[in-house]
């Protein structure tokens, strides 16, 4: 069942078309990579899915409902995490989690915070200022915040960006665990194609706002006769896929 349906989505900023007639859907319980080079329209698309940008045209349905008339209900079942969006550094870790727990109307916030901080191994940092945490610890805190409301759909924007290989690997393992344990559907953006091959059930490639291809990562690699998804990414970014297809 599709938990997210995007049809003919268009976003124009003046003469510039950031997202051009994009259509795709995301199946419940999957990890889907939304991929493309810088400026492809990934962030604009995610912002439209989160109601931060109003589309020029097209429809978005989350859980079968449109955002305009069901914003509160939808956002209660959704969450978002990005290393580029910080939690306030001048609040303590527990204050941040408590604030967002309240914002989402979580009952038994304390037990939820205990559960998530144990899950992400950050319980010892609860009394510390958020600004004192390392990048890896902040990533885990952001993920903990994004699971406070037990979201059915999680948007992750480059969750392993700026992490060292060890922490990035641990984060990927955590994401797989989250998806398995909590049955969360994840829409994921990253520039790390090895990561996509490792954890994504499906990859959606966009370039210059348009859908370029969509499929299981291993099948896309096979389709384009390449060694790995990184090569497929390079082909798409350089506009070489048309030659292969023709």
């Amino acid at each position: 069942m599709a938990i997210l349906e995007v049809k003919n989505l268009v976003k124009k900023f003046g003469d510039f078309t950031a997202v051009d007639n994009l259509s795709f859907d995301v199946e419940e319980g999957t990890i889907t990579g939304l991929l493309g080079p810088n400026g492809a329209g990934k962030t604009t698309t995610i912002q439209m899915l989160l109601d931060l940008i109003i589309p020029t045209s097209g429809t978005i349905k989350l859980f079968g409902k449109d955002m305009k008339n069901n914003r509160e209900e939808i956002l209660n079942k959704v969450n978002f995490s990005s290393p580029y969006v910080a939690l306030p550094g001048n609040l303590k870790v527990w204050e941040n989690l408590y604030t967002f727990g309240r914002l989402y109307g979580i009952k038994n916030i304390q037990s939820k915070i205990d559960e998530l901080t144990e899950y992400f191994n950050i319980k010892e940092f609860l009394p510390k200022l958020t600004s004192s945490l390392s990048t890896g610890q902040l990533t885990r805190l952001n993920l903990a915040k994004s699971l406070l409301n037990d979201p059915a759909l999680l948007f992750l924007d480059e969750p392993t960006a700026s992490l060292d290989p060890d922490i990035a690997d641990r984060t990927r393992s955590l994401l797989k665990k989250i998806q398995k344990d909590k049955k969360v559907t994840i829409l994921y953006t990253t520039h790390n194609m090895a990561e996509v091959e490792e954890i994504c059930d499906r990859a959606i490639f966009i370039h210059q706002g348009k859908l370029k291809d969509d499929g299981v990562p291993a099948e896309l690699v096979k389709k384009y006769g390449r060694d790995d998804l990184n090569d497929v990414f390079l082909m798409i970014a350089r506009g070489e896929t048309e030659k292969v297809e023709s």
Partner: protein, 263 residues
Amino acid sequence: MKIYRLNALLMRHLYLYKRSLPRLMDLFFWPILEILVWGFLSLYLEKSGLGGLNIVSLLLGAIIFWDLLGQSQKAVSFAFMEEVWEKNFLNIFVSPMRVSEFLASTFLLGLVRIIICGVVLGIGSLLLYHFNILQFGFYTIPFILNLLLFGWILGIFTTTITFRFGSGANIIAFSLIFILQPFSAVFYPISALPHYIQFISYLLPSSYVFEGMRSIIHTGVFPWNYFLVGTALNLFYVGLISFLFYRAFVWVKVHGRIMKLAW
């Protein structure tokens, strides 16, 4: 509007006050410093016979009321700027929170700041100058509520400007209150201003609060005319600024500018 979300947003800011020296200074130190300066000036004027009757009440009352207006405006402006500075804007706006709840929480924060600052200044002026801000009884409360509301309007105005023109416009959040002071008839009546700029004063609800306060000091009678005109202006501006804020918010969403503030 959900109470638990208002509570969350309010607590998010109140947590900061426990350990932020600049915020504590803003609530306690600077207002006390101001009543020290203006209090001693008014005592000097009183002793020299230069200020006329009730000079202590006039000047101290004025500076206390002015501080309360500033506290209300800063609560709103800085609550918004805090989210921009801390890059927390996106986390807040991808939650189910409504914009009206965000605005209401800033109003409540202004109320908390006004109560704390009012108590600090009230006690300070009583101990230092034997000036009791409550000597006019409940007459002062309607005027304080008008100041709270006008401060909120000014705060939403600076927020709207920042939304529309980006975080570079936040200088207005710091300076607006000082720009309005000469026109608000804080220490002198509107009639003391040149005729050609008096119309600005007549457009500001704060002018009616300060004129009203002076009237109470002189006559001891509640000046309904000042109160009603000031309240009517406030209600008009609440409608206007709410409309402009929502227009700016939609503009920001259409033009994809939220990320400029949030990223």
